[in-house]
Amino acid sequence: MKSTPPAKGSKRGIKPDAATLARMLYYLTLTRESELRLEQVLYRQGKIVGGVYVGRGQEAIGVGAALAMRPGDVTLPCHRDFSVFVIRGFSLADIFANWLARGDTPTRGRDNTLHIGDLNLGVIPIISPLGATLPVACGVGLVLKQRGKGNVVLTHFGEGTTSLGDVHEAMNLAAVMKLPVIFICNNNQFAYSTPTEKQYAVKSLALRGPAYGMPGERVDGCDVLAVYDAVGRAAARARAGKGPSLLECLTLRMAGHSAHDAAEYVPEKLKLAWAKKDPIQRLEKFLLARKIMTKQQIEELHKRVHQEIDAAVAQAEARPLPRGEEAVEGVYCGPDCWWERREVRPQK
């Protein structure tokens, strides 16, 4: 499975420096270990309210994309993009507290999982009816274009989502209006239990790009450097006023649709083949081979990550659950409801 050639007019080769590479490994590892803690420990202990959705095996997409962002850029991640939230500035404790439905989380205990956002961090929350975020991304893109500061908006979605009408309307609008939108498709080959053969009849979703009049590229979604490069080039095009791009990042969903899905419909052979492409192992190999990090440094990184997660989970568990009297707050809007009192400060 090869990546397609880069879009015309842009050479491959956005190479991150050593510091960025180290950050990449940190975020990949933090994401993997945090999600394991959520899915394999907290969920099984009955401490999570609701379902657990992880992006195991697909971490390179969120990390590569979010690290390519600049101040003022906006992102619309989806439920398998844990890393995007951390990279944009949500605290790990806040994220765990949200999963644990605590009262003082970004959603104040009202919505768990990763349905959190903050315009000051340039993150728009996930919309459960998948696909609905894409036209929203176009709206953001229109504002960014009008402001003329060269900012871009990234929108993440899966291959199942691409069958929805909203996606069509958004891609068409972005192309016609030359909006600075980067459409990032995480093709992890299964939409719940629907395999790609039952999702679309085209050979590669990247071909939908030219069908709308924008560049389309297929990217190795398990290679954080490939994602970082592709998003960086798409962003450069968008910043220069050349409009949107579609990136199809190929991965495999290494866990079930959610923690309650054993995913027996995913062939074992496929899982084994894609386990060999694990994004974290690949980056570690790369860093060691280029002598950018040593084995000891990597081990220390793992240790630090575990300590960080332990601290964040402990902090989150110590937070109080929401009080019953607060249940109706934020449902009806009155003059002194907390929603009215929020401030939205302009981004740095």
């Binding site: 069958s163 929805l164 009408g165 909203d166 996606v167 069509h168 309307e169 068409n172 609008l173 192309a175 016609v176 030359k178 053969e197 039952k198 999702q199 679309y200 009849a201 085209v202 050979k203 071909l207 939908r208 030219p210 069908a211 709308y212 009049g213 924008m214 409009g243």
Partner: protein, 324 residues
């Protein structure tokens, strides 16, 4: 593929002329203040409706939209049906409840046009699915305009049909304008057919003002679909020769556009072809015109003499009580 016989060529000519005359008559009735609501003309686009509908078999089903009156005539509706509709009379296909072309009939293989344009596509995909499940040699043909192709339902319908390899034909009727939106503001690709590779389906681009080209492309696509080859998108390039409707004077369309396309008039073009190939004598042409004159005269008179629906019946078919 067999060539069209002389008789078939005459039939096609008849439908082209009838299509245009019905439109002209409706415009006349509108100007006389006799129409309830708006009148949407298919002037200049007759070859798309006639060429495509004529290429189908009796068991096929069409999903026309408002400018495909010619297709509805070919499927067995008469001018009086359209006049009764627009004049909101009791004996029209919707008993005076829809003063437009939102009517259809399973027996004639016509699915009523849906105002929310684009929605016809997934609906016709459903019909195609039924045909496939029943192992019938039936094709479903959906008409969609350039504007409607930007809608979500269009995408969902085409993608579903492609994955399921359904016998769905899409006549992508590109008439240059979606109300006042030119195609340059509708899509960032040059052709509606450029969408097809994104779905993994074959496509064709034809001159929508060449009735024989539209016929041939539809026939070929239908054969492909009947063999189990899946959906085909046929883009027919034409021009909307009037405003969006009679109440729209289309001042936003550059005058040169109309002049350019007037020269490509589909009926004129077909007449030239028939003359060059000596496929229609002056007498045969006159006979067709006389037949159309009589039909229109009779059907207008019939429609104008038809009663309006009684007010007491207004709530009938609104509630389901008594519905079996």
């Amino acid at each position: 593929m067999k060539t069209l016989t002389r008789a078939q060529l005459h039939e096609i000519y008849y439908y082209l002329r009838l299509n245009r005359r019905v439109d002209e008559q409706l415009t006349l009735l509108y100007r006389q203040g006799k129409v309830v609501g708006g009148v949407y003309s298919g002037l200049g686009q007759e070859a798309v409706s006639v060429g495509s509908a004529y290429a189908l078999e009796p068991q096929d089903v069409i999903g026309p939209v408002i400018r495909n009156g010619g297709a509805m005539l070919i499927r067995g509706y008469r001018p009086r049906d359209l006049f009764l509709q627009y004049l909101a009379r009791q004996d029209g296909p919707t008993n005076g409840r829809d003063a437009n072309t939102h009517f259809g009939d399973v027996a004639r293989g016509v699915i009523a046009p849906i105002s929310m344009l684009g929605e016809t596509v997934p609906l016709m995909a459903g019909i195609a699915l039924a045909a496939k499940l029943r192992k019938e040699k039936r094709v479903a043909l959906a008409y969609v305009g350039d504007g409607a192709s930007s809608t979500g339902p269009f995408h969902e319908g085409v993608n579903f049909a492609a994955v399921q390899k359904l016998p769905l034909l899409i006549i992508a009727e590109n008439n240059g304008w979606a109300y006042s939106t030119p195609t340059s503001k509708q899509m960032a690709v040059r052709n509606m057919a450029d969408r097809a590779p994104g779905y993994g389906i074959p496509s064709a681009i034809v001159n929508g003002n060449d009735v024989r080209a539209v016929y041939a492309a539809t026939r070929k696509a239908a054969e492909h679909a009947r063999r189990g080859g899946g959906p085909v998108l046929i883009e027919c390039k034409t021009m909307r020769m009037k405003g969006h409707a009679e109440h729209d004077d289309a001042r936003y369309v550059p005058k040169q556009e109309f002049e350019k396309w007037r020269k490509k008039d589909p009926i004129l073009r077909f007449e030239k072809y028939l003359a060059a190939k000596q496929q229609m004598t002056a007498q045969e042409k006159a006979a067709i015109e006389a037949r159309i004159d009589r039909e229109i005269r009779e059907d207008v008179a019939f429609a104008e003499a038809s009663p309006f629906p009684p007010p007491e019946g207004a709530a009938r078919s609104v509630w389901a009580d008594g519905w079996k």
